[in-house]
Symmetry: C2
Subunit: 584 residues, 2 copies
């Protein structure tokens, strides 16, 4: 039995009705042919996730990885085969440019499919996730020769990609990294050691394309003296065939609390003659190049939060329906624990958080599609602002709530949850990386208040607030939720507006801003996800009227949204009380 079935109905609903994928394709000029076969695509991906990728999740956690003295890494049983089927199915190439072999599908659709991989098997899903980042960085920054040589096989998935930022003394402060790059003819020689390199070495793809941050000789100190290099594991001949191995290897694999089947490597470059690398983008502009991929990677980590939540919810739901224990209120006989009101509360929290996180994440992913389109400048900039604003919120809120949902799911299992055999403990262990990598959530909070609110004088935040206010006063909502619920939502938007004012007023007080950043992030996450939940409900109501949805779906969505408004939305009150307490 698989522990995960892709929630294709809710995914399809969010894509079609909330994100309005057809309108998105029209406005962005993206190929809308996938939209016509969206249900088929989601079903096919769901089948691969359930039948091939999920069944190797728990065995992969138990088996882990092997590394030999030469640095060769062997993945857990079945990982290579599942990856092969993923490549053969063309699943890695969905959202990339047809010029290099991609399918030109909207990013948000690709994201919905990726949600399945991470839910089925987070360790495994990280390999294509990193490849996606490499493709983006090369597409946006490399010269045409590098693109021609590397993109097609990265896009197909025959080769995988990595991001090499971190060193022992350079984590969050990436500017202090020490890896060197020396010019050598038409390439560079890279020498240094990188840590925490996800899927840095493995046996699933025939080549691995490392994107490595390093310093050129005489580069300025700090973050302005870092350049980006493409460093293949195996050198590529001019005719595209594979040549000899490059001078790089994995030294060890980290012993982590979770994602045991994902090789998180210490990588060594250039221990002998120097690893051959090629400059991507301009000299000393490595951080900018890397950030083009970091931003989408951050969204995708938020998406992993959705995946974890969905899976954790499904496992809890299934357990609570089967586990018989005690007599619930209103019953005379012992029955499944789902009958107990507190268990129902936990399940409804999990379910509503998951659906809210999905809607919010997909909304942000749609902004990627709009931001990369040829819309007129003003519209384009608005989408870019929205994307910039939502990215740290999605990364922060969806990964924090994923911790909660995974933990509550474990709690629903009682003593069995604490035993590894049950499987939910692995989900919790795996999930714990999410608030850390791609910028800790503390960094996301600083990004939100500093770069996204203060830097544009609150313009993007105010646009969002206005849009939310307009939904709050939409008369159709008054028929769908209670007055109290609508008042709570309107009040939350007002309080968010006040928070933005507080931030702008205190923008010079970095100390104070730093102290309220995390509460602001969580508050913004709670409120924007409530916005997406209410928007979902309004769209579900319309879909019912238009006969594009069922009464069952509408009724379930209504219940879930209302639960979210009563049990989750009020959380912002404590964040806001803290913010006002220390700033007034």
């Amino acid at each position: 039995m698989s522990n995960y079935t892709a929630p294709v109905e809710d995914m399809g609903f969010v894509l079609k009705e909330v994100v309005e994928i057809e309108k998105l394709c029209k406005e962005t000029g993206l190929d809308s042919s996938t939209v016509d076969i969206l249900d088929t695509v989601l079903d096919a991906a769901g089948k691969l996730a359930k039948e091939e990728i999920e069944p190797i999740n728990k065995p992969g956690d138990t088996e882990g990885l092997k590394i030999d003295s030469s640095g060769k890494v062997t993945t857990a049983a079945g990982f290579k085969e599942a990856y092969q089927h993923f490549v053969e199915g063309g699943w890695g190439s969905l959202q990339f440019s047809p010029s290099y072999g991609g399918q030109g599908v909207p990013f948000v659709v690709a994201a919905s499919v990726q949600e399945m991989w991470h839910a089925a098997n987070m360790s495994w899903g990280l390999c294509p996730l990193l490849t996606q980042g490499a493709v983006e960085a090369i597409t946006l920054n490399a010269n045409e020769e590098l693109k021609q040589r590397y993109l097609p096989k990265l896009i197909s998935g025959e080769w995988s990609g990595t991001m090499n930022l971190t060193e022992g003394d350079a984590g969050t402060d990436v500017g202090s990294l020490k890896t060197r790059a020396t010019p050598n003819g038409n390439h560079y020689l890279i020498r240094g050691q990188k840590i925490y390199i996800t899927w840095g070495e493995h046996d699933m793809a025939e080549n691995i394309i490392h994107l490595v941050l390093a310093r050129l000789p005489d580069a300025p100190p700090g973050i302005k003296g870092i350049s980006l290099f493409l460093v293949p594991k195996i050198l590529v001949n001019n005719d595209g065939t594979l040549g000899k191995p490059n001078d790089l290897k994995a030294l060890s694999i980290e012993h982590k609390i979770g994602i045991h089947a994902c090789p998180t490597c210490v990588m060594s470059y250039g221990e002998e003659s120097g690893a051959i690398g090629y400059l991507v983008g301009d000299e000393n502009r490595g951080i900018q190049c890397m950030f083009t991929m970091m931003n989408n990677a951050r969204l995708t980590v938020g998406l992993q939060g959705v995946s974890v939540s969905e899976r954790a919810y499904q496992q809890a739901l299934s357990f609570c329906n089967e586990r018989v224990q005690g007599v619930a209120p209103g019953f005379k006989e012992p029955g499944p624990i789902i009958r107990h009101p507190d268990v129902q509360r936990m399940l409804a929290n999990m379910k509503s958080i998951t659906q809210a996180a999905r809607a919010l994440t997909y909304a942000a992913c749609a902004e990627v599609d709009y931001s990369l389109s040829s819309l007129p400048t003003e519209a384009l900039q608005k989408h870019q602002r929205r994307l910039g604003l939502l990215t740290p919120i999605v990364k922060g809120w969806c990964t924090e709530t994923a911790q909660e949902v995974a933990s509550v799911s474990l709690q629903c299992h009682g003593g069995m949850g604490y035993v590894e055999e049950t499987g939910i403990a692995q989900i919790l262990r795996d999930a714990r990386i999410l608030p850390i990598y791609e910028g800790t959530n503390g960094i996301q909070a600083m990004d939100l208040v500093g770069r996204k609110i203060i830097s544009d004088s609150g313009l993007g935040a105010k646009e969002l607030i206005k849009e939310m206010q307009s939904l709050a006063t939409n008369p159709s909502l008054a028929e769908l939720v209670t007055d109290r619920q609508l008042r709570c939502f309107s009040g939350s938007i007002n309080d968010l507006e006040k928070t933005v004012s507080i931030i702008l007023k205190n923008s010079e007080n970095k100390e104070l801003i730093g102290k309220i950043a995390f509460d602001t992030l969580m508050m913004a996450g709670t409120i924007t996800s409530s916005w997406q939940m209410l928007l979902s409900l309004e769209r579900a109501s319309n879909a019912l009227k238009d006969n594009t949805s069922t009464a069952e779906f509408f009724s379930e969505k209504t219940e879930t949204v209302k639960h979210f408004l009563d049990f989750i939305l009020p959380r912002y009150l404590s964040n806001f009380a803290t913010i006002t307490a220390i700033t007034e």
Copy 2:
């Protein structure tokens, strides 16, 4: 380097100034001689915890346990020796009756010492914790012969104890258990299988005394047909020497997410001739007997939450002082990450939650001492009500916050937190059992609203609310915290009062009560711990005036209490908003 130093200053302060241990000894008639040497006792325990019990914590996690085919369990290196020193130091016998070899020290003092064992090594600390439960159950329920034969060696720690409740189909619903007991002369023959038996089998003590719930032939069904039996691992001869092994054994050890060095066993009783057991208390009154130990065990699990929080905070503080990364606001050079405001916020959250949880837990433990004393009936009943009310709050709130503190500590470590070598991951894994065992926190929530609020028509809750209101209007507090902070505290008490009214008004609606139980628990925890924090501050101010404390201590306590009031107390707002949203 040890990762834990017992916080003897704060412990001593809470015992002496907040709990008022001297007054407690006078009023309860307990021997006050320990009080005179309290600092010495805390220092000595702290030394044992730091030098012997903590250093085997991480190795124990890595090494785990061995079980051979006969069911013999071997503990990790050093565990047996540390336990031997614990027994030799008389640490296990502190709070027990001198009639059976105990030292007659107040329970709350013993609790403060136990806080150290669990902080140093949760796996190891569970062995004496379970023995304590067995001693309590035997002391309160067994006949004199059993007491004489078993208590002295359990109290000294030469023998350890266990609690055997759970079976595969009988967890939270213990009434459905199937283990049988058949009368056989002066004893009974026990047959059945128990799961999740903490320290069910090991090599640290020469005998293990199992307390086992089982059914007599023709016992009524459900919870009213369960009796409690004392079942020794090795039978004890009439002269007190050890005889032949009983018919019981460990079948296996659970593979858990944490507390790897603690043998959580599947126990089999009576596979051959039947395990010899002795009835403790009356027939069919097993649940009542077990609950006498369960209640204190619940408090002690809350105490483990305090331990985990303290240790997690210490590790984060140490890491953040050492880890150099980035330039903080107001600085020009890279420095330790503790300079960053968001890191300071995380540390202050951890620290203030830990101190609040400690004060609340010790307050509840002091009620154990009062409840067991010979005070006049009215006073005694008031203390028993208070103890009953605080027990689920301590168990629930201190174990939920321990999850948070452990997770935030891991977060402070960044990527290194996710790697097992750093050690903080173990703390998080170990801690995850706390909201589950001794009654899940969902059960604690139902206990609070059902047995502790509804059953006595809110009497105990109203007494507590009145006492908190009296502190809120204490004029001396107005000089110690801001008006806004005091208003927030007063407001929280009013909202708690409203919540109690809501519960009493809806007491027949079990469905609704079940839905708001957990929010009520968390709200009550946040508010009562704020009460204990404000009380601590007032007492710290008095201690400064009386020269029994230092200006440094007072200043640090002030900062910590104020942080708690701004960052933690407002959390109750979201619980209260949810409660009102779904009950109005």
